[in-house]
């Protein structure tokens, strides 16, 4: 059951990320940046809300897990070159971490 929920969530998360990238990625990969930041924030919120195993499998592990990505992120970072790549990495990791912490804080308040 948990496995099916993970797969279902990911079946929506992955294409949504692709769609965002198609729309927004330009010289700077804004679409993937946004997917990674928003997905991390939502996962933080879900964990703060402490929803239980099944909703977390569907929305957290499945949807947020597949909506965000490291493989494209790392490949883009290398493709951008040392200076712009470093900026992209820091902008993603720092903002996503802050978003996740903020989401967790809000979720814990609401729970």
């Amino acid at each position: 059951m948990t496995a099916a929920l993970v797969a279902l969530g990911a079946a929506f998360g992955a294409p949504l990320r692709y769609w965002l990238a198609q729309r927004l990625d330009d010289r700077f990969p804004l679409g993937i940046w946004l997917a990674n930041v928003v997905g991390s924030t939502i996962l933080g919120l879900l964990l703060g809300l402490d929803l239980g195993e099944r909703p977390l499998a569907l929305l957290g592990v499945g949807f947020c897990g597949a909506f965000t990505t490291f493989s494209t992120f790392a490949a883009q970072s290398v493709g951008l070159g040392r200076s712009r790549g470093t900026t992209y990495v820091l902008a993603t990791v720092v903002v996503a971490l802050c978003g996740c912490a903020a989401g967790y804080g809000i979720g814990a308040l609401l729970a």
């Binding site: 993970v6 997905g39 493989s71 490949a75 990791v93 971490l97 996740c100």
Partner: protein
């Protein structure tokens, strides 16, 4: 960018299917490889291996010829297998637990390791990120 002649619907379906399988693989890894000594090994392993694999994909002729396959394997399978949200959530939890040094190690190890994995894949196959984008393995 996928070639304009390729319709979007089959690409999105391929990515949905690939993403579902990739996420299952990642979830399976977390079940099989429990967190030990604080480092989330399963996520780290998924991210490192996924980054190595995405840099190697453009070397496959079949992937370069078939945009739907490229999308299903790149943004789909590997996009769903690797994840940034679990990485940030795990890092946040380590920081909240006061394990700052471990969090910093995990944050840096993942980022540097994944960049090295991409460079290694490109070196091994002789393919660049431009070719990965051209093949539709890497968005957009």
């Amino acid at each position: 960018m996928a070639s304009p002649s390729t319709h979007t619907a089959p690409l999105l379906l391929g990515i949905a299917l690939g993403g579902a399988i990739g996420a299952l693989g990642r979830w399976g890894l977390t079940q099989w490889l429990p967190e030990a000594s604080g480092i989330p090994w399963a996520t780290l392993l998924a991210n490192l291996s996924g980054c190595l694999a995405i840099a190697c994909l453009p070397a496959l002729a079949l992937v370069r010829r078939r945009p739907v396959l490229a999308a299903a394997l790149g943004p789909g399978l590997l996009g769903g297998f690797t994840t940034l949200s679990a990485y940030t959530a795990e890092s946040r939890a380590l920081i909240a637990d006061g394990r700052i040094a471990l969090a910093a190690t995990y944050v840096a190890l993942t980022v540097l390791g994944c960049v090295v994995a991409v460079l290694l894949g490109e070196r091994l196959t002789g393919r660049s990120e431009d070719e990965a984008v051209a093949a539709g393995v890497v968005e957009p």
